[in-house]
Amino acid sequence: MAFKTKLPLKILLAKVGFDGHDRGVKILTSILREHGHEVIYLGKYLMVPMVLEAAMQEDVDIVGLSFLGGSHLTYCEEIADGLRRRGLSQVGLMVGGVIPDKDIERLKNAGVHAVFTTNTDTRDILTFLDAFAASRVAPSTPADS
């Protein structure tokens, strides 16, 4: 097929901490690929600095974290803070999984761009990503086309 002139989003998906429920994040990985994004799946049981280091080396557009173990507040704050401290504040942050409604406000205040709780329609995630991509500086046209 003709290659898109629009660049795909480069997305890092990961799970941090002692939470091995990775079915959801793996399904999301496939869905995002089907939608034309480039997805790095980093795995589970990770430490915060591992996610930050990978986000830096891969120069991703957005980091997505999945939590089903209740530790989303601490880790999200650490990661949002870590991204800022490393000069990666342009990197987006989205979070999904088992997240109580009452925590959403606090997550957003910490710098999370989007929160997707259980029963989220995956199309909402795709819509968010499209809007996220559009909100960024328009990519330069590839110089060789």
Binding site: P8, Y41, L42, M50, D59
Partner: protein, 317 residues
């Protein structure tokens, strides 16, 4: 998506040459996506290229390449070398999307500043590599990485690109799959400087080694002396032997002259490929003309070959 405009190029170049990983990461994005400033950036580092040794890993899917690379990286670190890794996974030809899943097996060195890993999608490039891979090797080289490891899409028979880019090409296979051996017979076996039978704790491993050695014995001249190394990537067994074999391989010790001629060969290929890419882009941009020519062939007003020549005239005229 990329904030770096051309005005940042000198700073980016300085960062790359100073070995700053964040600058290297941004430089790779610039070059991979051919964003404004990518050419001055690349020409600005050329005088610092050619120092690193480049080791390629390829082989069929599931042979354990990423796990082996993870161990190989650790062994290079024990040898006090800094490492850059380029891990290529396939892009979907339908959607352009990709799952880059090599890095998940390379987490042992995730917090080691001496290791820089970058995942690339092949983005429609056949041959196992992304078209930006050669330039990304240059960037890592210029940033002072001692060893650059290239891991390619494990599709089977077409990953011959890697041999043109790597000093030493390691072909990894696993026992127990008859078609594994079949797959490497004709295609990638020929580009192997070293052959690895991974998962060699499995019962059929000895048989796989025997088959490969028998196959090598049938080869004439160059390539007949390819070493076959047994590894168990999950435990690290055999990885030291593999690193030794890479180090003592004649291709790992190219002279300056040999490097220069290899680089010329590489550039020749890139120029040809670049020209083909321009033609492809322009064909796509002239979709209307292609459709018209298609109808003309359907109506038997012209033949396929003449239609192709006509299209060339249209796009280059």
């Amino acid at each position: 998506m990329e904030p770096s405009g051309s005005s940042n190029v000198p700073a980016l170049r300085d960062g790359v040459l100073a070995g700053d990983p964040a600058a290297l990461a941004q430089a790779i994005t610039l070059v991979e996506n051919k964003l404004a400033g990518w050419q001055p950036l690349l020409s600005g580092i050329q005088d610092r290229v050619g120092r690193a040794s480049v080791v390629g890993f390829t082989g069929p899917p599931g042979a354990g390449k990423s796990t082996l690379v993870n161990e190989f990286i650790k062994e290079q670190r024990r040898r006090k070398r800094t490492v850059g890794v380029i891990a290529v996974d396939p892009s979907s030809p339908k959607t352009g999307g990709a799952v880059l899943g090599d890095r998940v097996r390379m987490t042992d060195t995730a917090l080691d500043g001496g290791v820089f890993i970058r995942s690339l999608a092949s983005r429609g490039r056949l041959g196992g590599l992304s078209s930006a891979a050669p330039q990304i090797v240059d960037l890592m080289d210029a940033s002072g990485r001692d060893v650059i490891v290239l891991e390619t899409v494990g599709a089977g028979q077409s990953e011959v690109d890697i041999a043109g880019l790597a000093d030493v090409t390691v072909v990894v296979c696993a026992p127990g799959l008859g078609d594994d051996i079949q797959a490497i017979k004709a295609g990638i076996l020929e580009i192997a400087d070293l052959l690895v039978v991974n998962k060699s704790d499995q019962p059929l491993a000895k048989e796989a080694v025997r088959q490969l050695k028998a196959m090598l014995m049938l080869r004439q001249g160059a390539g007949a002396d390819v070493e076959v190394i047994s590894t168990i990537a999950t435990s690290g067994e055999g990885v030291r032997e593999l690193a030794d074999a890479v180090d003592r391989h004649p291709r790992a010790r190219f002279s300056a002259d040999e490097r220069a001629s290899r680089r010329l060969a590489q550039l020749r290929r890139l120029i040809t490929e670049g020209a083909l890419q321009i033609v492809r882009h322009r064909c796509e941009a002239n979709d209307h003309a292609v459709t018209e020519l298609g109808h003309a062939v359907l109506r038997a007003e012209t033949d396929l070959e003449s239609a192709s020549y006509t299209l060339l005239k249209v796009i280059l005229g």
